[in-house]
Structures are given as structure tokens and as C-alpha cells.
């Protein structure tokens, strides 16, 4: 993974010093609340319901074991012994003291981490595919491009006070695992007919109050021009985005008001002045960054031998076999596997990890996966390069650590925001709903029979739990001070991205497991062969679900 150069390190250390000064001016009363607000937000610091919350950046989801150990230390010494992985591959600490945040940032800088632009109306952390570099369907490794974009967006002087937050995601493979269609800018790496590398550029996707699927504004942008083209898009948005109403301030509203065609024309006009200028990327710079993402030192293995040994072990161990089936994935190098560590055991808030678990995972990464870990936007972790012959030992250690729940991609691997338990924006709690659903559906054979199914829960319309793009989406709503839950069906964040449709009137919290159960019954009774939930939904539509859920005789 990328290692900071001397100047990368310096810029992060100078940021810590800057924020230390700003925090002390705030604490002494020199800076007013409203002046400190954007400064702390651009360092990832929210004031939450119970305490400040610090969001630490994990650029494109990539971490190393040393960083995990530092996160464990921060969780133990500055927080209550745990942290939370978010739906944008970042990490949140829920209980830091404001006075100590500069010290936390200084500790993080020691391991090349920071909280730069993890919040606020600026360009946020760039997200990507958790299988970058190891996916079988990869066209181009997105990580070097994400790092180039990270540097471009870090302290970009023109774009620190945008109308609203701005999120960019990059995918380098055929299957979109980075949800690029629901980002302010989605970038798809691809090759044209001449074999040249470039980007397909989507703008104006997003969730929140007004969910929109992004529109293509350029079919092919040669790689050399990516920074200038992004400058042009964000400049047009900075100048013409709505600043009067924060609910109409995202780029998607501007793109929709102008139409994607007109927006594209404005961007092209702006870009015509920038094109071929100094920010045109050089092969030398791309090569410099790419050298940090070379292949790890894989052994040459015979896949058949490794696979046979694995089959022998799993034949008389059903639990191991189930874990292999759900939590591991084919690697593009013979004899290796991609392994998911589930952060969704029943009874733990989805995405939460303790300090000692962080250390245990760091040890596993060192022992089995070249010391690297990836965070996924589904709030799980990935060890991307595990030798197949190590899988059994890894499984046993992961099991004792509490992150071998064999539920990846299933109903109980649900995405869930922190909700009303922590977040001051939330209308309703989300964690108790997640837990109630996990408890109801504790029969793993039933869950496996349902197959791939995404269930996403957000505690408010800001949609941090991505409820619009869950096959089943749950949204917490407030009705006269009481918490209710609205259900949506048919969402997807993949290549066939779609927004869910609202089922009907909302439900009380205690009804939710029954409601989900009725929805699943409709699917089971209507599916053809091994048809997935989303495909059955698309075939039969919303009505059969509606009729069953709202039928009077229940």
C-alpha cells in the first residue's frame, strides 16, 4: 500500500499543529461555535448526542496491521475501548474528549493516518472496491488512482467551502462494488477500443433525502486528464450549486435542474480552459504511485492441490464449509483466497470492533495476509491474500476472536448506521432493529436458503445506512415524537443500481421482525428455482408484498 513520502508526512503533521491551534482558540473563547464548526468538521469531529464523534479517514478502505494497533491504542486510551467501521470505509470513535482530539490526530499521524475532510462541505474520503488488486474481474487496479485523487483533494484550496459535502468513488472492475452510481462523482476505469486507459464519468448520484442514480457525462476520459476534468466539475458545482437551501445543495440537484446534458456542456466548456494544463498527469507520477501497489510476494502454488486439501478438511466440518462458502471468495492468484471477517455477529452493533479485536485482526493480517486489511462499505473487513492452506487455521482464530460469523452477503450481514443511540441527526434508533432482525433469523440454514440478500437500515433520511439501495431497506421516521420504520423493497447498489420502492405505511419497532418475515415468505413462495430476492422482486413487483404485509388477517 501507499507509504507517505517526506512531504506527505509533513503536510499531515502541519495539519495536526493547525488544528491544535484552532482547538485551543475555541476552548479559550476566541473562536465562536459557528467559526469552529467547519474547522472541526473538516477534521472529522462532530458534536453528537452524548459526546463528540471523531471520524478517521481510511483512504479507499486500505489499512495495515500497524495502523490497526494504533487504532486499538486510541480506542483504549482516548475512547471506551471500541470503534466503528462506517458505510464509507472510514472509522468512527464515539467517545473522545474534544481537548484530546489534537493528541489523537498526532498519534494517528505517526502511522500515516488522519481525519482530513472526513466531514464538512468539502471533498470527502475517496472510496473504492474492497477487492482492488485481487478481483478476478478487474480491468485496472483503482488504488493508485484513488491515491492520486486523495492527494489532489487534500487541502484543495478552491474546494474547502463547497455548497455541500462531495463524495467520489472509483471502480476498476466489471462488477461495481464501490456503489459509484450513488456518489456525487462515480469513476469507472475502463479501456477504449484502442486499449487506452481512461474513465467513464458519472455525476449527480446520491442517497439522502433525494436519492438519485448518477448520469454519465463523459463516456471516456483519457487518464492524463482526470485531475483537470475533476477540477472542472467541482468548479462548476462550487459556482452554481444551491447555497440558499442545504437540502437542495448537493450536486445531484444542480445536475437534475440543468439536465445532465447541459451540465456536461458546462463542464466541457470549463475543462477546455484547463485541458493540457499543468495538472495533466504524467506517466512518471502514475508510475511513482503505482510502485506502492505492486503484487505481494505470492508463492507459486498448485491450486488443485491446495483445493483438494481444503475439500478434505471441509468435508467433515460443516461449520468450516459454511464459512468457506459465505466468507471466502475466489482470488485471481492460484492457491489464494479473499477472506471476509464479519463484523456482524448478533448482539453487536454492525461495524463495531473492540480494541483487543483490532489487535487480534492485526495479528491475523501479519500472519496470513501480508499485513494488510481492507474495510468494506458493507462494514466488514477483508484479508485479501490468504493462502488456501492457511484458511482452516485462520478460521479457528477468527472464530475465537468473534469475527467468523458465516453470514457475508446474507440477510444478517445487514448495513446499519449508528442511529438514534449515538447520532444527533437520527429520527429513530437503528441498532436495536438490526439486532431484533438478527435474533429472529438465527437459523442459519434458513438464512443460507434465502441466499444473497441485502438489508440496509438508516435512522433518518440522511441515509448513512444506504436504505435506498438495500434489497430490503428500512428507514427510521419520527411521527410526533414516536419512532416508526418505513420499508422499501427492490434497491441495489451494484451495476444494476436501483432505488427501492416504499412498501406502504410505516411500522412500530417491535413489529419489524414480523414484517421482514412476511416479506421473506412472499419471496420464498414466489421464487423460481434459485432466483435471488432482487430478481423475484423485479419479476413480481411490489404488490404481492404489499398485499401480504398489510393483509388484515395477520
Amino acid at each position: 500500500m501507499y507509504r507517505y513520502t517526506e512531504h506527505d508526512q509533513k503536510i499531515i503533521e502541519e495539519r495536526v499543529a493547525q488544528f491544535r491551534g484552532q482547538t485551543s482558540r475555541y476552548l479559550s473563547g476566541e473562536l465562536a461555535d459557528e467559526e469552529f464548526l467547519p474547522l472541526r468538521l473538516q477534521n472529522g469531529l462532530y458534536i453528537q448526542r452524548l459526546a463528540p464523534m471523531l471520524r478517521v479517514a481510511v483512504p479507499y478502505g486500505l489499512l495495515n496491521a500497524g495502523q490497526f494497533r494504533k487504532l486499538a491504542h486510541v480506542a483504549r486510551h482516548y475512547d471506551k475501548g471500541y470503534c466503528h467501521f462506517t458505510t464509507r470505509q472510514n472509522i468512527q470513535f464515539n467517545w473522545p474528549q474534544l481537548e484530546e482530539v489534537p493528541d489523537i490526530l498526532a498519534e494517528l499521524a505517526e502511522v500515516q493516518m488522519h481525519a482530513v475532510q472526513t466531514s464538512g462541505n468539502c471533498i470527502r474520503n475517496i472510496t473504492s472496491d474492497q477487492y482492488a488488486g485481487v478481483a478476478e474481474d478487474e480491468i485496472e487496479d483503482p488504488r493508485p488512482w484513488c491515491e492520486i485523487l486523495r492527494q489532489w483533494s487534500t487541502f484543495h484550496p478552491e474546494f474547502a467551502y463547497l455548497p455541500r459535502k462531495f463524495k467520489i468513488a472509483v471502480s476498476g472492475s466489471e462488477s461495481d462494488r464501490a456503489a459509484i452510481l450513488v456518489h456525487d462523482i462515480g469513476l469507472q476505469l475502463l479501456r477504449n477500443d484502442e486499449g487506452e486507459l481512461g474513465f467513464k464519468v458519472y455525476v449527480g448520484g446520491g442517497l439522502g433525502r433525494t436519492p438519485v442514480i448518477g448520469s454519465v457525462i463523459r463516456e471516456f476520459l483519457p487518464w492524463q486528464h482526470i485531475l483537470g476534468y475533476l477540477d472542472a466539475i467541482v468548479r462548476v458545482y462550487n459556482r452554481y450549486g444551491n447555497r440558499a437551501n442545504k437540502y437542495k445543495a448537493r450536486i445531484k440537484i444542480l445536475v437534475r435542474a440543468w439536465t445532465p446534458e447541459v451540465f456536461a456542456e458546462k463542464v466541457e466548456a470549463e475543462w477546455s480552459h484547463i485541458k493540457d494544463g499543468p495538472c495533466t498527469l504524467t506517466q512518471e507520477e502514475v508510475d511513482r504511485v503505482k510502485q506502492y501497489f505492486t503484487l505481494p510476494d505470492y508463492q507459486v502454488l498448485d491450486d488443485a492441490t491446495e483445493e483438494a486439501a481444503l475439500q478434505a478438511l471441509s468435508a467433515d466440518n460443516i461449520a468450516f464449509a459454511k464459512w468457506l462458502e459465505r466468507n471466502t471468495l475466489k482470488h485471481r492468484v492460484a492457491g489464494y483466497s479473499i477472506v471476509h471477517l464479519s463484523l456482524k455477529p448478533t448482539g453487536v452493533a454492525p461495524g463495531d470492533v473492540t480494541d483487543s479485536q483490532l489487535e487480534a485482526i492485526a495479528d491475523l493480517a501479519d500472519k496470513y495476509s501480508f499485513g494488510e486489511i481492507r474495510a468494506t462499505h458493507n462494514q466488514n473487513l477483508v484479508l485479501a491474500d490468504v493462502r488456501k492452506s492457511d484458511l482452516h487455521a485462520l478460521w479457528q482464530e477468527a472464530k475465537s476472536g468473534g469475527f467468523a460469523t458465516p453470514n457475508i452477503g446474507t440477510l444478517t450481514d445487514l448495513i446499519c448506521c449508528p442511529g438514534g443511540d449515538f447520532c444527533s441527526l437520527a429520527n429513530a434508533k437503528s441498532i436495536p432493529v438490526a439486532e431484533a432482525i438478527q435474533r429472529r433469523f438465527d437459523d442459519m440454514d434458513y438464512v443460507y436458503d434465502l441466499g444473497d440478500l441485502s438489508l440496509n437500515i438508516s435512522g433518518c433520511m440522511n441515509a448513512c445506512g444506504h436504505h435506498h439501495v438495500g434489497n430490503i431497506g428500512i428507514l427510521g421516521v419520527d411521527k410526533k415524537g414516536e419512532e416508526f420504520y418505513q420499508v422499501q423493497l427492490g434497491g441495489s447498489s451494484e451495476n444494476d443500481a436501483a432505488l427501492g420502492n416504499v412498501l406502504g405505511p410505516s411500522f412500530g419497532r417491535e413489529e419489524m421482525p414480523d414484517i421482514i418475515s412476511r416479506i421473506l415468505d412472499v419471496y420464498i413462495n414466489n421464487r423460481l428455482g434459485d432466483e435471488l430476492f432482487i430478481d423475484t422482486y423485479r419479476r413480481i413487483g411490489l404488490d404481492p408484498f404489499k398485499e401480504s404485509v398489510y393483509a388484515k388477517n395477520h
Binding site: Q18, P163, C279
Partner: protein, 162 residues
Amino acid sequence: MPKIINKDKIVDDKWVVLPKNYSGNLPENQLSLAPMKYWLENKESIRIAVLGLWIDSDEDVEALGEDANQFPLIAVNFPSFTDGRGFSTARLLRERFGYNGQLRAIGNPNRDQLFYLKRCGFDSFVLPEDTDLEAALESLKDFSVTYQNAADQPNPHFRRDQ
């Protein structure tokens, strides 16, 4: 006389900002910043040398374009410090229209924006009245390293001599 930051010095501010809806004749013997709109509507008749312009955050600097260089001082208004349109206006003035005169941030920019403002091409700054200007000068130097090309630096980091 109010104090402002000009380059890296604290100096007296001798300029008066005329209101956005200003009409009629310009004040005599007074350094005046006229609204850009006033100049666009009266440019044939204006013959006063002591004139600068100010551009509001919702105005397109393209209307002024390369005529900018007729003015010794142009100010860009930040109606609130969170309104970041002026950052783009400044870069366009400097980098697209080649403006070489003094470029001033007015309205409500604050100390913690100085580094970004400077990078976008501003060289003078009217900060809120209660700002400790001596201390604020430090914020012009918040960072010694930058990644992007901007008005203060023609090349991104990867094209500079390392």
C-alpha cells in the same frame, strides 16, 4: 482607519466599498471600490483613476474578463465565510484572465481561511474587526507543502523540482 492584511503586513485600509445598488456619480478624491455591475453599466462614462471594483459571490467574473487589468484593486465579497464561490472567482481572475493587481477578500473571510485564500490568488484580506491581525499572519503559513497547482503555484507537486 481600519487595519487590513496586505501581503504579509498589517496596513491601513484607505478604500471605501460602495454599496451593490450604487448609482449616480462616483465620490471625488476617494479610493472607491465600485460594484462590478456599476462599472459594466457605466464604463463608457467613467473617467476616474481612483477606482477599484468589487465582485459579489453570485456574480460571474467572466463579465469583467480581461478588463480586470484596468484596475489596481479588485475585491471579491464573501457574504458569509462559508460561501466558497469567491475562491473560484479569484482563481479565474488570476489564472484565466491574467489579473496582476491587488486582489482582496472582503465581507466575512476569516483567519482560518487565509492559507486557502492566498493559494487562490488573494493578496489582501479584510478580516472581522475583533481579529488579532498579528496572530492571524501566522495562519498564512499553516502549510509549507501543497499538492495542487493554484494561483500561487503554477505546478502541482508532481511537476515541481523535488
